[in-house]
């Protein structure tokens, strides 16, 4: 059981408690982000077990390096997402190198929301989805391709048959717009 007082703590406080060795805070952070991060890792790996291994590694790294987390450099969510994404890409490359690479970007047929997930994260997901839907489809395609694939900027430009300069400008405009739409979202 995660205690009620731990559950209500903001993310940064959970990380501070983890830095001081509070295992309940790690459990609460997993309850808050484990499922979403697994879905993210799954987008790259197309394998639930691999995805969960990546997320377990990420949360374990967060536990060990909690004291190094610097709130001035970004939110806990952004920290965890960046670690998950980079570890998922590393693992995907390692799997591909072993010639066992599954396709990327396949939707997960079994991923259904867990009722145990916090309302907060469900609500946040809903808001972001809505914001994504209001983006120009071309901008959305670009963002999703850049974020959920292992392509470099040049490869993205080639894939979309766009000059690299256009990719850069469009990407910035899209992400800025998303940021603007999400500016009211609590961290």
């Amino acid at each position: 059981m995660v205690r009620a007082d731990t559950e209500r703590k903001p993310d940064a406080k959970l990380v501070a408690a983890m830095a001081n060795g509070d295992a309940h805070a790690l459990k609460a952070l997993n309850a808050r982000y484990g499922a979403s991060l697994s879905a993210l890792a799954f987008r790259f790996l197309a394998d639930q077990a691999d995805a969960e291994e990546v997320v377990a590694d990420v949360l374990w790294q967060a536990w060990r390096e909690a004291a190094l987390y610097d709130p001035a450099r970004g939110s806990v969510a952004a920290w965890l997402v960046a670690m998950s994404r980079s570890r998922a890409i590393d693992r995907f490359r390692a799997i591909r190198a072993r010639r066992l690479a599954p396709g990327i970007g396949e939707p997960n047929p079994e991923a259904t929301p867990d009722p145990a997930d916090e309302l907060d994260s469900a609500e946040r997901g809903r808001i972001v989805k809505h914001a994504l839907e209001t983006l120009d489809p071309k901008q959305r395609e670009l963002l999703e391709l850049a974020y959920f694939s292992d392509l470099s900027q040049t490869e993205i430009a080639a894939r979309l048959a766009l000059p690299l300069g256009t990719v850069k400008t469009r990407m910035r405009a899209a992400l800025l717009k998303l940021r603007q739409m999400l500016s009211g979202l609590p961290e």
């Binding site: 060795g21 979403s36 993210l40 969960e52 980079s86 867990d114 989805k129």
Partner: protein, 317 residues
């Protein structure tokens, strides 16, 4: 690259998609201290993270927790206050460790195969009559020695079993040494990271320091609190506090003119060890009168109830 071109790299940087030369150019620009680009990159990273968290969550929480708990069990010593699991969870842990696979036991020692093969081997070049005679003789000899062979076989078998038991015991002790070493490594890494955190707060341009003085319950205790408003961080380094009793925690307080005692976080002390713990920085915009450390129930409390171990009056200025 001019500023506009560098700005165009920010989104790709936030998404981790920059090619190496562009990445180097942007890093150099940020190192020069462009606050505008730094802030935009931070904002774009948050948007990118929101993008990631908009995916349908996978039902993975319970499985993830089991994985994490197994690692915690390996890295936290049983007596450590850090492993503050509730009783049922400790039970779960023991059940899990009981499930750990033991070394596979060979159903039959390998030597037996050779022994059997030797028995099966028959000469192929002798004429069959001679062979029959030889076989009859061999049968007699075998019958004669069968009892002795069985005894010898039993002795070898006992020796092998003994050796296997010894090796299993050795493997067990090596594996417990290995988990003790892992425990130590994770604890050292965490301690090192806490020290790095303290260091980074101390290095902040607006770093403030405050010494906390001991009170009655622990006359030998002392502590230093470092804080930085720009880093939104504070760290306490304490020594000489008695080890945290079971079910308790030390709690740090900021006492402000507006709100009285404001909780700033809990931490634990171990015998003979210095403590470094992250705490909440003082509430901004409030007048600080005092900082203090009390002993409270393990989960921490909203207002102090226990004895005060350390305090620092803050001079009005």
């Amino acid at each position: 690259m001019d500023h506009a071109e560098l700005e165009d790299l920010l989104a790709l940087a936030a998404l981790g998609r920059l090619d190496a030369p562009d990445e180097a150019a942007l890093e150099a620009h940020l190192r020069e201290g462009c606050a505008q680009c730094e802030a935009e990159l931070r904002a774009l990273r948050e948007a990118a993270a929101a993008l990631a968290l908009s995916l349908e969550p996978a039902p993975a929480e319970q499985r993830l927790w089991l994985k994490l708990k197994a690692r915690l069990d390996q890295s936290l010593p049983q007596a450590s206050p850090a492993g503050r699991f509730s009783a049922p969870e400790v039970g779960e842990r023991q059940a899990q460790s009981a499930e750990r696979p033991t070394a596979p036991r060979a159903s039959r020692p390998a030597g037996h195969e050779r022994y059997d093969a030797a028995l099966r081997r028959t000469p192929r070049v002798w004429p069959w009559r001679v062979a029959t005679g030889m076989a009859a003789a061999a049968a007699l000899v075998l019958a004669f020695f069968a009892g002795g062979a069985a005894r010898e076989f039993g002795r070898i078998d006992r020796q092998r079993r003994l050796r296997i038991a010894q090796l299993e015991k050795q493997a067990l002790s090596l594996s417990s040494e290995r988990s003790a070493a892992r425990t130590q490594a994770v604890r050292l890494e965490q301690a090192l990271n806490r020290r790095a955190r303290l260091q980074s707060v101390l290095m902040a341009s607006d770093a403030h320091m405050m010494h906390l003085k001991p009170l009655g319950p622990a006359p030998g205790a002392r502590a230093l609190v470092a804080m930085s408003a720009t880093r939104r961080s504070a760290v306490i380094q304490a020594a000489g506090l008695p080890p945290t009793p079971a079910g308790k925690a030390y709690e740090m307080w900021w006492i402000t003119k507006q709100h009285g005692p404001v909780p700033a976080g809990i931490f634990h002390a171990e015998t003979g060890r210095e403590v470094i713990a992250s705490i909440d920085p003082p509430p901004s915009g409030e007048r600080l009168l005092m900082a203090a450390v009390t002993l409270e129930p393990a989960a921490g409390v909203a207002k102090p109830t226990g004895r005060m171990y350390l305090k620092a009056p803050i001079p009005a200025n």
